[in-house]
Subunit: 435 residues, 2 copies
């Protein structure tokens, strides 16, 4: 009778057990709390969009190789699972008349047909904060400040914020290499982490660049230094180039606003970010004590909204990679998976009659706010206690004929081994003290 | 340059604005808090499952007409978007060795190709609590108690919990009509709300039943009464039928446990629930003061886990229809969409120099826990205040040269029109008092 069923989710997709979810909810709660403190408000968009919504927004590789696209069986229209939270938000913004700056956060899942590996899945969660409507570095600075603040709140200490500006880099390429079409070069550079410098060399050669130019590009993108010195050097060298001027000025302002968070920032000319829609400053956060790739990233995308509205509306956003943040935090000992259940109290019933009392006591405790369980299996005391152990529920209240008659119950704290004997009507107060 | 982009999501799919999300998060927070109080823990499963995971679980109509099925472009395997949270949870349970009872909650989106209408969408949220492993009425009773508790906490007062038992109904059909295969009849009865009694008559005739039998079924399913009388009547009439005996006994126990929540319950013989997997008690909650269909429902599905594991593991679950709960609550005036933003404080800067102070003050306030915004658009005081009005942010702090020199700032409460003049280092305390 057992049908040939799959007990596992498809490759790259995951189940989360209570223990994992309790941790995830805690982490996502901290991130959300930070977003709210910085004045961001939530929106939600569908998991599915029309294919046209995504088309031409991310670049060829993402659209052809990574996007989950399928034909709606009923309308025969092409749908796609959302690839990120940015493009759906832009579509949302374009469909409404909202006051700017529009500051929204969105924590939700996205789908990409990546090769599954550590910290990389086909269904994963992003936590995004974006600011629509401001062309000023204040907006980028607020997002970077927020990103660093979140990571600090989560307990991370050793990380670098790699910062670059596509405009500035374009200017450098214009001057050094007389290059105009930089998008293919950005795409090659973006693969640096995956394929290394030699790989990037190959990619650049494939684009038809001669080896002198390739080596110049490799030289340029090998630079990574603290902001003040780096920006000054670039400024001095290319001061006549308008793109460099704008980029340096924008980055300098951002860094000024960062104040005592500036120490985390490095200017990294090899950072371009993979997606086509970025136009100005781009950033990624990398942990320095473990190798897990970037755990956050973002940048300015001033032209994307034009594609939907025909109006120039500047925009910038930051995104935390939830999966990597969690995996890195566990590895660094910042978070743990030790909590098996939210339940804090189990009322053990020692007889059938006692069960009815246990049921009522549980209802009372729940109404006071305590997460409480009772026996739903008509089990012996021993079996009930075994369940409590397996679930690692911290407190047990024992209820038998004696307790019912006397109105005095025993609370046992499994964590400390201590016992508390209290009157039934004083249970809540005692529990509050113990927990 | 504007590409031919869709600004709206596909039909039946929705965007949620900050105002809608702030309400949704509040409602889902209350539901989740109740689930936790009753001792349920969260799990998460993918949006996508292998098609085989769903096949043969819900019945033909659901599987052929409502399930979003598509071929994975890479593996060529058939995938499907999850239709409910029950079957994925059962697959999850079957893949692990978990202590029972396994009590999990899951609040998440599901997809069904329904005809979009009021309270019915193609992408919608369910909030489920299930108990795996207990065959006893205690488990069903706990879920019904929880369902009623959640609705009470949300502020609902006028509702009926319609309760039936598929085993009991099968017994009645066996006795009254000598029917064995009741599933097609259940499916016909399930359409009652949509097609009315005459519609059900037609459906039953299509099944080949003669008009006497059809009328007997119509008579039986027209009964809806308070539990005690109803169950006694059924018990007396069919006491020799084993299915009736078991069903009545199970329902009676459930009702006993419900205690002072019993007043909400009616036995409704026309309630069968659409999905094939239900085996015992089934329930739905209907509001009595507005017509919006059922806002919650659930039941026992003792055979579903066998399909995955080959082992008999009893299970029962309840589910709240998030969309209808919210829409009904708004209509009844229990909830409102008046909150436009989480932000409580806007620091208006009256000069460029003041902006740098505003930025630092905002950072300090954020770190104290206040949701704070500053000007990111280099706007005049007037424009900043217009933004505050549009977003309906309650408190404004003014920061100009005078305030910076004196170290004394003004807090303006837009809700009351009151002004507070405080020293900068006492701002947090004053804000706590005001909010």
């Amino acid at each position: 009778m057992v049908s040939n069923v799959q007990l596992r989710p498809p490759s790259g997709f995951r189940d989360f057990s209570p223990r994992e979810m309790i941790l995830r909810k805690k982490i996502l709660g901290i991130i959300e709390d930070c977003f709210i403190r910085y004045g961001f408000d939530p929106i939600e968009t569908p998991a599915i969009e029309y294919w046209e919504t995504f088309e031409g927004k991310y670049g060829e590789e993402a659209e052809n190789k990574l996007l989950y696209r399928f034909k709606d069986p009923w309308s025969e229209k092409w749908f796609a699972l959302r690839f990120d939270l940015t493009v759906p938000m832009v579509r949302f913004f374009a469909s409404k008349a909202l006051p700017i700056p529009f500051k929204r956060y969105h924590i939700g899942r996205v789908w990409r047909h990546e090769r599954p590996q550590r910290g990389r899945y086909r269904e994963f969660w992003q936590a995004d904060a974006d600011i629509i409507g401001s062309v000023f570095p204040e907006a980028d600075a607020e997002l970077l400040d927020l990103t660093i603040y979140v990571l600090q709140k989560l307990g991370f200490r050793n990380f670098v914020v790699k910062l670059n500006d596509r405009k500035m880099l374009r200017g450098i390429f214009e001057e050094e290499l007389e290059l105009r079409d930089v998008l293919p070069i950005y795409r090659a550079i973006d693969k640096l982490d995956k394929i290394g410098l030699d790989g990037v060399r190959e990619e650049l050669k494939k684009l038809g660049l001669d080896s002198t130019k390739v080596e110049r590009i490799i030289d340029i993108i090998s630079e990574e230094r603290s902001p003040d010195l780096m920006l000054e050097t670039i400024q001095n060298r290319f001061r006549h180039n308008e793109n460099v001027k704008q980029g340096v000025s924008h980055l300098s302002s951002i860094i000024d606003f960062l104040d005592n968070k500036k120490k985390y920032v490095q200017i990294a000319l090899n950072l371009v970010r993979g997606l086509d829609y970025y136009t100005g400053p781009v950033w990624e956060v990398v942990l320095t004590d473990i190798r897990i790739g970037s755990i956050a990233g973002g940048g300015r995308y001033d032209d994307l909204i034009f594609l939907y509205t025909g109006k120039n509306v500047p925009a910038t956003g930051t995104s935390l990679g939830v999966e990597r943040v969690i995996e890195a935090g566990i590895e660094l000992g910042l978070f743990n998976l030790n909590t098996e259940t939210y339940t804090t109290i189990y009322v053990v019933s020692l007889s059938k009659n006692a069960f009815k009392h246990a049921w009522k006591l549980a209802m009372k405790l729940r109404d006071t706010g305590f997460s409480t369980q009772v026996d739903l299996m008509r089990r012996s005391e021993k079996k009930q206690r075994e369940y409590v152990s397996k679930k690692d529920i911290p407190l047990i209240i024992f209820l038998g004929e004696k307790e019912i008659k006397s109105g005095i119950v025993t609370i046992y704290d499994r964590r400390t081994g201590k016992r508390y004997t209290v009157k039934e009507d004083a249970i809540s107060d005692t529990l509050k003290k113990i927990l």
